[in-house]
Amino acid sequence: MAALTGTMSWFCCGNSWGPCGTAGHGACGTCNSGSYQHAWPNASAACFNITRPDRCGVSMTRRGCGFRHYTTNRCNGKRIGTTIADCGPQTDLWCGERACCGSVCGTNRIVDLTAAAYSQIASLSSGLQPCSVDTV
């Protein structure tokens, strides 16, 4: 599979504080902010019907809980392996959105990493970065 390119952000799940306090453990029931996990827009048929990446022209393979992806921050080349633990992001809310580092850009939201995973490859305060997602 060729790497899928787009944008990435981060989210909280599991026990937490503040607005995250009610986040729960995600669609897979295993999600925790401190673990190397991610949300995937096509984690199931029900998930896909919410996130609808196809409406943004993004073709995304269906992969279930526990599937391993590798996400690269295209701003700095840092890479992290994570497993699917939730459904998201809701890609169709952000169709056409771009994030760039100089001339390197990503378009459309394709993955949300847990805080632990995102902070390994980017600063949490950056919020949104161009990325690529692969299976190896």
């Binding site: 989210f11 673990s35 190397y36 809310l93 902070s119 390994q120 980017a122 305060s125």
Partner: protein
């Protein structure tokens, strides 16, 4: 990887009393963007990261944050001269308070403490709809609950589909979806807004 290891070694040395940190910046920036580990991944995908902490601050003493994790884990987080601290904006240790929430990344030392590279205090990343707009306020609908977002003059910025961050919030519209990076005001439903991401 070499740079990261060397940098972390310097941090560790600084924590245990060496003055080695004075030369750390010679290896590059100590800002969060430059502080992330590279190279082979030591933690298995799906597993908890022992070098990452989350929770609320229960005590502060002599460069140490005492934190109770939301899973009730107890953390001792060492702040060094090389630790970058974010609380709405890059800031200093004296701005951190008991009761604040945090995420921290660093290096676990043999004594169980976490020598922090980066600490993000009260940071939230909220995906919400704009329910109402007031003077220096955004009322946000977040998973059926209301969050009050305060625009902080001189700090809050908007990015409209990858435009440079601007202070002009006039393109925000009620009903539109936004992503907000901000700092939670502890024990309230309020956040101070750092950046709003919105469609143009």
């Amino acid at each position: 990887m070499t740079e990261t290891v060397d940098r972390r070694r310097l941090l560790t040395n600084a924590v245990v009393g060496s003055a080695a940190l004075a030369g750390a910046t010679a290896l590059g920036s100590l800002a969060p963007e430059a502080a992330f580990a590279a190279g082979d991944q030591a933690i298995e995908p799906g597993a908890p990261d022992p070098n990452f902490a989350e929770g609320r601050i229960t005590g502060i003493s002599a460069g140490m944050l005492f934190v109770t994790g939301s899973d009730m884990a107890l953390w001792r987080i060492r702040i060094t001269g090389g630790t970058s601290i974010w609380k709405l904006r890059p800031t200093t240790f004296d701005q951190v308070a008991v009761g604040d929430g945090l995420y921290a990344r660093g290096l676990r030392l043999p004594d169980g403490t976490l020598a922090a590279d980066s600490v993000w205090v009260n940071i939230v990343n909220v995906h919400a709809h704009i329910a109402a707009i007031g003077r220096n306020l955004l009322h946000l609908d977040h998973k059926g609950k209301r969050i009050v977002g305060h625009l902080v003059p001189g700090t809050s910025a908007a990015r409209y589909n990858n435009t440079p961050a601007v202070s002009d919030m006039s393109m925000l519209r009620v009903g539109k979806h936004v992503q907000v990076i901000g700092a939670w005001v502890p024990d309230t439903n309020e956040v101070e807004i750092a950046t709003v991401y919105a469609a143009a």
